[in-house]
């Protein structure tokens, strides 16, 4: 099920470069470390909520750029020191559609 839904996503070329193990690491990072500001369940904290309905009008490119380069004037740091562009894009797609994580 996981792979079927992933295959339906538009950035399958980028996503497919990321191993299953790395995907799990990214999801862990998202909830545990991004979660220190955005909330472990991504309902927000010092940073805004990152739930799919809130992000539905935000393009993947915008979210990817925000992850990679941060947002000046806010505490959002650039993650390009720790994530590749394709990993940031994978996270952006995941944020908009996390359903494929459901078992």
């Amino acid at each position: 099920m996981k792979y079927l839904l992933l295959a339906l996503l538009p950035v399958v070329t980028q996503a497919s470069e990321i191993t299953t193990q790395r995907q799990e690491e990214l999801i862990y990072l998202l909830h545990q470390d991004c979660g220190s500001c955005h909330g472990m369940t991504l309902k927000g904290g010092l940073g805004p909520a990152l739930l799919p309905d809130i992000l539905q009008n935000k393009p993947v490119e915008f979210l990817t750029a925000t992850i990679l380069f941060g947002r000046s004037g806010t505490p959002m740091p650039p993650w390009s020191f720790m994530l590749t562009e394709s990993e940031a894009e994978w996270l952006a797609v995941y944020l908009k559609n996390p359903k494929h994580d459901e078992k």
């Binding site: 545990q32 909330g39 472990m40 309902k43 904290g45 010092l46 941060g70 505490p75 020191f81 720790m82």
Partner: protein, 378 residues
């Protein structure tokens, strides 16, 4: 039969007890530090990421502040949840009044502070943090003060609010404005005199002398990093755990791999101590001779110990990935560390720095011992 089994339980005090937040599991462990053991696990507490706790003055009840706005009162002797209320959409922490009767909670969504009766968690007052037309601020750095006061800072509002809770249903607020950009957390000295808010939007800290309020807010350690570009901040530092020694106050630098040392009388910068990463917690052992520091990712597998006499790092340890919090036993012979990614608590002796024991815990974060009940400003 039930009464018989209750009779069989040996009465105990709670002075060597505490709780460990299991952030991902919505549970806490109730532990004791004499034999380093787990006594109970209490579940069903909601989203406990970034959760913190305070204790009733009899050290029997813990009040746990969850990220999801949940406020839970836990009987740590019985290991049971007494009451839980969802008091906001998103909260960040809380404090308990000097007389133990009022629990205050600091909220992100909607921003502001709420006061509750510590006995039954009934709402006493709701104080929105409105700082401009229709603008509500997230509130941070909420602590209790002597004389039934609380104090906190407004992240977006760039203000410090002093709350007089003598009449908890009608609290009186005194506001200090333009304190500096984006206060992210704050602390108060353990005598309740100095309130210091760390600033994210500019370098420096905002200091308020609570014994001389009319002096207003003074900025200290301005431009502490002006010769060195600020690095990206992957985890906001915490200021709770005021590291105060006879001569110095030690603070985490924001966006620099340094611990800042200020003269505690003039508040001038004395030294920047180079450390392994960006500090998150900078916490003094109760006697003030050592300060233990943990770090933001990607350096959160390491802790360092600073000797406060010569202000140098004397030891570096690698407890494991995700060291999130440290708590000293009341007299400081041991320190407990939560090692989130390895699902364990580590307990070190502080005299020799040696690992004494480990306890399993599910994604542990904050550790809070009951001795906090008798300290102001936590």
């Amino acid at each position: 039969m039930l009464s018989l089994s209750l009779f069989a339980v040996e009465p105990r005090g709670t002075g060597d007890m505490g709780i460990v937040i299991e952030r991902a599991n919505g549970s806490i462990l109730i532990i004791e530090t004499t034999h380093n053991s787990q006594l109970y696990r209490v579940e069903g507490l909601g989203d406990l990421s970034h959760a913190s706790a305070v204790f009733s003055r009899d050290e029997r009840y813990a009040y746990v502040f969850g990220r999801d706005g949940g406020l839970s009162k836990i009987d740590i002797l019985a290991g049971t949840l007494v009451k839980r209320v969802i008091q906001a959409g998103n909260s960040i922490g809380g404090a308990i009044s000097q007389d133990g009767k009022i629990v205050a909670v600091s909220n992100y969504e909607p921003g502001g502070v709420k006061l509750f009766d510590s006995a039954n968690l009934e709402l006493l007052a709701d104080v929105p943090a409105q700082y401009a037309d229709n603008k509500q601020s997230k509130t941070v750095g909420l602590v209790d003060l002597p004389n039934q006061h609380f104090i906190y800072s407004l992240f977006e509002g760039n203000q410090i609010w002093l709350l007089d809770a003598h009449n908890p249903k009608q609290p009186v607020i005194r506001k200090f404005t333009d304190i500096g950009l984006q206060p992210y957390d704050a602390m108060v000295s353990n005598n309740g005199r100095f309130y210091i808010a760390g600033l994210f939007g500019e370098e420096g800290l905002a200091l308020l002398d609570l014994w001389q309020l009319d002096k207003g807010v003074q900025q200290i350690l301005p431009e502490y990093g002006k010769d060195d570009p600020k690095k990206p901040v992957y985890k906001m530092p915490h200021l709770e755990g005021w590291a105060l020694t006879d001569d110095y106050a030690l603070f985490p630098a924001v966006g620099h791999n340094e611990v800042l040392v200020a003269d505690r009388h003039t508040w001038n910068l004395v030294k920047k101590i180079p450390v392994h990463g960006q500090p998150v917690f900078v916490i003094a052992r109760p006697d003030g001779h050592q300060v233990w520091v943990n770090f933001a990712m990607p350096n959160n597998d390491t802790i360092q110990i600073i000797d406060t006499l010569n202000l140098t790092v004397i030891a570096t340890k690698k407890p494991g990935k995700g060291v999130l919090h440290m708590e000293f036993t009341p007299r400081g012979e041991a320190v407990w560390l939560s090692v989130r990614d390895e699902d364990k608590i580590q307990i070190y002796g502080t005299e020799d720095g040696q690992l004494r024991a480990e306890l399993p815990a599910l994604k542990p974060s904050g550790i809070f011992f009951t001795a906090r009940a008798h300290q102001s400003g936590l």
